[in-house]
Symmetry: C2
């Protein structure tokens, strides 16, 4: 029987979910590791790579690492033993992330954070700067689970959605138009909104740079729920300072505060009115941990049933 190790401490309420989806007698919990033989563990469910990196080398029969999160850019794949398959949890919280992206976009379109700030100091900025979404053009970078959910929502709000990806394929014909990433500059020039929903790979670093920003509309909105480094930090900061009508709504950042540290970037975004700041919480909604766990367990179940698991990152 294929043994599965849960490589992080797990509360009772989550254990109950595990045992609903998988047979109880093949699970080894983190807390029981010392008491059980790890020799025949073939699948490991991982939450923190810091904890997991040591454990995986104690598992001689390990075949699969199932990660609890979608973005695997924090996992050092060179530390994974040869022949072990890494599975991401892509799609688990895509709906929540997409809702957050939509929320950032709408907050920006109607200037809610700025208006709220002004009213708290007694001003009443009843100006007609709100953008109407109807008939606008949104460019969505990335047509994975998140990009597709965003596209569905925006179509419903009468926004034209243009997808940009590597393959040029249009999944489920969901996008009104689709372009390969080498055409990015061309499509950015006509975008009212640009939403980044890409994972971070080395080639995507600094994809949105000074040149790309320069072709965008003066009152465009840039939303990032992918990874901070896909945008060049300095280029965006300079662009925002020069173009007060351009808005960046960012959930992901270049630097993250360690425990006890204050949040700070290299550029002083907090001083700008045309930035909307959110603390990498797009996927962190009520009960999101249940969504993540269930989705990961369903993938493990595929392996147990002899089927091919989803979200293979590396063989």
């Amino acid at each position: 029987m294929t043994k599965i190790l849960i490589a992080y401490p797990m509360e009772e309420k989550f254990r109950r979910i595990v045992e609903e989806i998988l047979p109880k007698d093949i699970i080894i919990y983190y807390e029981d590791m010392d008491k059980k033989s790890l020799e025949d563990v073939e699948i490991v469910l991982v939450r923190s790579w810091r904890i997991a990196r040591d454990i995986i080398h104690k598992l001689p029969k390990l075949k699969y690492i199932q990660y609890l999160f979608a973005g695997v850019d924090r996992i050092k794949t060179e530390e994974i033993p040869k022949g072990v398959v890494l599975l991401s949890n892509s799609g688990a919280n895509a709906r929540g992330v997409a809702e957050h992206a939509l929320s950032l976009l709408l907050t920006a379109a109607k200037k809610i954070t700025w208006r709220d700030r002004e009213m708290r100091i007694g001003n009443f900025p009843q100006t007609s700067e709100s953008l109407l979404l109807t008939n606008k053009i949104a460019v969505i970078l990335g047509t994975g689970n998140i990009g597709r959910e965003i596209a569905k929502m925006l179509r419903c709000l009468s926004v034209k959605v243009i997808g940009v990806n590597k393959s040029g394929r249009n999944p489920d014909n969901l996008f009104h138009e689709i372009y390969t990433i080498d055409k990015l500059k061309k499509v950015l020039a006509i975008a009212d909104f640009c939403i980044i929903a890409l994972p971070l790979t080395p080639e995507m670093e600094n994809l949105i740079d000074e040149e790309k920003l320069s072709v965008m509309k003066k009152n465009a909105i840039l939303v990032n729920v992918g990874r901070g480094k896909i945008i060049n930090e300095r280029a965006l900061y300079n662009h925002l300072r020069k173009n007060k009508s351009f808005i960046a709504a960012l959930d992901v950042w270049w630097k993250y505060p360690k425990q006890g540290e204050k949040f700070q970037q290299n550029c002083d975004f907090a001083s700008l009115d045309n930035v909307i700041m959110s603390p990498h919480c797009a996927g962190v909604y009520e009960n999101y941990e249940i969504d993540l766990l269930k989705h990961a367990l369903e993938n493990i179940k595929l392996i147990l049933e002899g089927k091919t698991p989803k979200n293979v990152v590396r063989y």
Copy 2:
């Protein structure tokens, strides 16, 4: 020929729209009033009631007053000569108002204004308090143009929409459920979100009072794009102070600042984190004046064609 008076100063670009929709030779502009006979004016287009109230008494043949805005609560109907029909401009900017309501709701659901404020002072509130919209229940008060647009959008986002109105009729079967207003307390008890899209009439004043608020979920969201006085100000303030998870996102207010005045309410909403403040700008988006004017002119055109105009407020 039916003469039409435009009872407010009008810029050239708007005059061009007037002359596209209506025959040029039947229009008298505000600026030309002294030079032309007002004796046979039958229709007047009104923007500011302050300006219009004197003018209408100089028009002996007046039959119709077409107002440029949807909400007629600021017009003193007792000042209108007997037999003159008042037409509102209901529906003209309904889509924009509905988009603003959705924006306020999403900003509240994902706690964007609060998170943004916190990050600007160096905090990083990556907490899981964001609500997922999917499968939530929204109660929409008012099933007119705005309420229906909101319902369409929320349905698309997988929110269940319950409409509340006087008649209990379900327009276009757009709402999953519909209730009459005497059932309001019952439906508020199950609402995750409540959106007010009602006009202000005397019977609707203080509709949302302490009793109604007390039955709502502790972490519900209340959005108001109708009129401030539909909510009891003190009751809402006290409720927000006691229930930190409850959020009110308000575009409409109890007191409006006059020219040069600071914005201030009787209660200090600006000191609360669980309020989102927007300056009565739901209908004030890019080029909204064009939408308003075109919609009003199309209604006047119906009269000229001998048809029944829409939005009759008072005979």
